[in-house]
């Protein structure tokens, strides 16, 4: 297989695989930058997938080919509301954030499957009729080489994800909102004395992570799985979390990490045609993203410093 062929088969696949991770990881970045650990990304994705599919099944007739887009927006909204539980627990009730996140994961899956059984009388929904499709980006697709690699047969949602990563970067690093959000995650009391409403910022951040996690989950469901069951989201949320950390809590870093995971994943699938990878047992390729993340954390990418107040509830008046 030539390099060009290789790239042409890997890149679009990496992009589609990564898009849901990018969305969700961006949510994680917002949440953790504000000082709220979010192990619940998996659960937020489950909720997003659930809502995305149910909405899609219910309103396919109403919205026609726009259904998937409306569905992911609905998923984002509902997941944002759902994430309020984490916000209330972590911010207002001073819960251990990791534990609350674990509970979010349980709750989303339990609720999702419970409601599916309730509404559809079975443990998994039907396949949606209105899924996302790939397309060629006009003009750009015709650019030699680059066009074929990056702009043919691509999900628009992948580009939305990439664009959102840049938007998140702008917001976090160039706007007052971003400065305040990051200050809350580093030194909430300093923020407080500067008149910033710490709980409010954290609520907003967690809700954003809910919305983005919902986007991630629903995009995953509507591009890949096409129905909802207990096995729709299996680990993608945790991979997104890995991307957050691998990407050093930076939106673009998180995107890079998500793309890297996608790359590793698609490489593992097409390894058959790649001379070196051909003989590697599949299990090594399967565990590669996880092991690489550990290795990366252990030193190859330098020290990744978490936001200082990450995980600490802010209690006014304590030192």
């Amino acid at each position: 297989m030539s390099l060009f062929d290789l790239l042409q088969s890997i890149i679009p696949q990496a992009l589609f695989f990564s898009a849901p991770l990018i969305f969700t990881a961006l949510g994680g970045v917002f949440s953790e930058r504000s000082g709220v650990i979010n192990i619940g990304l998996e659960g937020l994705m489950v909720m997003g997938a659930f809502v995305g599919i149910v909405f899609n099944l219910t309103f396919a007739d109403v919205f026609g080919s726009w259904t998937p887009w409306v569905s992911i927006i609905a998923a984002a909204v509902i997941s944002a509301i759902f994430s309020l539980i984490h916000a209330v627990a972590a911010v207002s009730f001073r819960a251990d954030q990791v534990v609350s996140g674990v509970a979010i994961n349980f709750l989303a899956l339990g609720l999702g499957v419970f409601l599916t059984k309730q509404w559809y009388g079975k443990g998994q929904t039907d396949i949606v009729s209105q899924q996302f499709f790939t397309s060629d980006i006009p003009l750009l697709a015709d650019i030699p080489i680059i066009g074929a690699i990056f702009f043919q047969g691509i999900y628009l949602t992948s580009y939305v994800a990439v664009a959102l990563a840049f938007a998140a970067w702008l917001v976090l690093y160039k706007t007052p909102f971003g400065l305040r959000l990051r200050s809350v995650g580093e030194h909430p009391m300093a923020a407080d004395t500067n008149g910033i409403n710490v709980p409010r910022m954290r609520y907003i951040a967690v809700i954003l992570s809910g919305a983005l996690g919902g986007l991630g989950g629903s995009v995953f469901a509507l591009t890949i799985v096409l129905n909802f069951s207990h096995a729709t989201i299996v680990g993608q949320g945790f991979m997104s979390l890995a991307a957050v950390i691998f990407g050093k809590w930076h939106p673009l870093g998180a995107m890079g990490a998500a793309l890297f995971f996608g790359f590793a994943q698609s490489l593992s699938v097409i390894s058959g045609g790649v001379p070196f990878l051909e003989d590697v047992p599949q299990v090594f390729l399967l565990i590669a993203p996880y092991v690489l993340t550990i290795l990366a954390l252990a030193g190859f990418i330098g020290r990744a410093e978490a936001p200082k107040a990450n995980g600490e509830p802010y209690i006014k008046g304590t030192r």
Binding site: A89, R94, S100, V113, I245, P281, V283, A298
Partner: protein, 348 residues
């Protein structure tokens, strides 16, 4: 100070009540009779000796994973990786159980120790990375969960079996299964592991509360700088804590591999023993005794839930929702304390 004790007991109790109440409202909301639902749950967990035996069977690994999470918690570490440690422990126990030939007095302990060692090793990795490189244990353990899952599947399929979905059964000399228990409980899969689990709880209590090692572990968890100043080996304590925690979780795997199943099969996903262990530890306030109680509760909920669809038509997932809500409540104990304080004040 006494009031504090009281809160420590009240908070989990209230959390469980809130969870169950919410579950009842959910049943009402979806047109089920909560009384029928909970009766089914109760019958499914304690209805007769068979179900009771099955509940104990489920409680056994829960005690171990609960202890694992609680132990790490006491030294300031969050072991999200019990899940993976269970898997490698299970694998190791079955490996020894199926390939070694020895009399029971050697074989069974060997298999159990193998599980503990494997789990300990799986805990050692995040431990050493945290100690030597400051890598956060939560993320490493999550990554190791997946690594364990996929690796164990590959080993079951390619090494311990000839391309099959499960290993052969472990030798009788390595089995925890108890005919006596089975006969007593109409063939439930209750096995001798429960005694090991209870013993482990005592060990944990002793280490944490009564030994200088426990003093160091807790001290490191609270303040590693002061611990270093006081001459403790902080890095070693972090590693040690993860090793012991991992060993407990590995033993949970031994319970499954040598007791409940007697083999290991290819896992399509996590069995959640490790994640449930977080809930168990938390509800048990990270104490050994509390973990045992909480493990009973969650074991009963999980096993009882299976009876809900058949007897009351309620989907089993209701119990997952209840458990999630209980976790939220315990995690948010601050607010429960606050409300209790309010009540107390007004009562005066």
């Amino acid at each position: 100070m006494n009031a504090n004790r009281l809160f420590n007991i009240l908070v989990p109790v209230i959390s469980v009540l809130i969870g169950l109440l919410a579950g009842a409202f959910m049943m009402l909301g979806f047109g089920y009779n909560p009384i029928t639902g909970y009766t089914a749950l109760w019958n499914g967990a304690f209805g007769d000796l068979y179900y009771f035996g099955e509940t104990i069977r489920q409680v056994t690994p829960y005690i171990f994973t609960g202890l694992a999470v609680a132990f790490a918690f006491r030294s300031g570490l969050l072991n999200i990786g019990a899940e993976g440690q269970v898997i490698v422990g299970w694998l190791a126990a079955v490996w020894v159980g199926t390939t070694v030939e020895a009399p029971m007095v050697i074989h069974l302990p060997l298999a159990i120790i193998a599980a503990a060692v494997a789990g300990a090793f799986w805990g050692f990795i995040p431990g050493i990375l945290k100690a030597s490189r400051g890598v956060h244990e939560v993320i490493v353990t999550i990554m190791l969960n997946y690594t364990a899952l996929y690796s164990a599947n590959a080993i079951v399929r390619n090494v311990l079996s000839d391309n099959e979905d499960k290993t052969p059964d472990v030798a009788a000399t390595a089995s925890l299964a108890s005919e006596w228990f089975q006969n007593l409980t109409y063939f439930s899969r209750m096995h001798y592991g429960i005694f090991i689990a209870l013993f482990a709880a005592v060990i944990m209590w002793f280490i944490i509360e009564r030994t200088s090692m426990g003093y160091e572990l807790k001290s490191v968890g609270y303040n590693e700088y002061a611990s270093k100043y006081a001459g403790m080996n902080v890095k070693w304590n972090i590693i040690l804590s993860m090793i012991i925690s991992g060993a407990f979780a590995g033993l949970a795997g031994a319970m499954e591999g040598l007791g409940t199943f007697g083999y290991m099969s290819v896992q399509s996903g996590f069995n959640n023993l490790g994640f449930d262990g977080i809930a168990v530890a938390l509800l048990g306030a990270n104490t050994a005794f509390g973990v045992v109680l909480a493990a009973f509760l969650f074991g009963a909920l999980k096993v009882g839930a299976l009876n809900m669809p058949t007897e009351a038509g309620v989907p089993t997932e209701l119990v997952d929702v209840i458990i999630a809500l209980i976790i939220f409540c315990v995690a948010s104990s601050y607010i429960i304390r606050w409300i209790l304080l309010r009540f107390k004040k007004e009562g005066k």
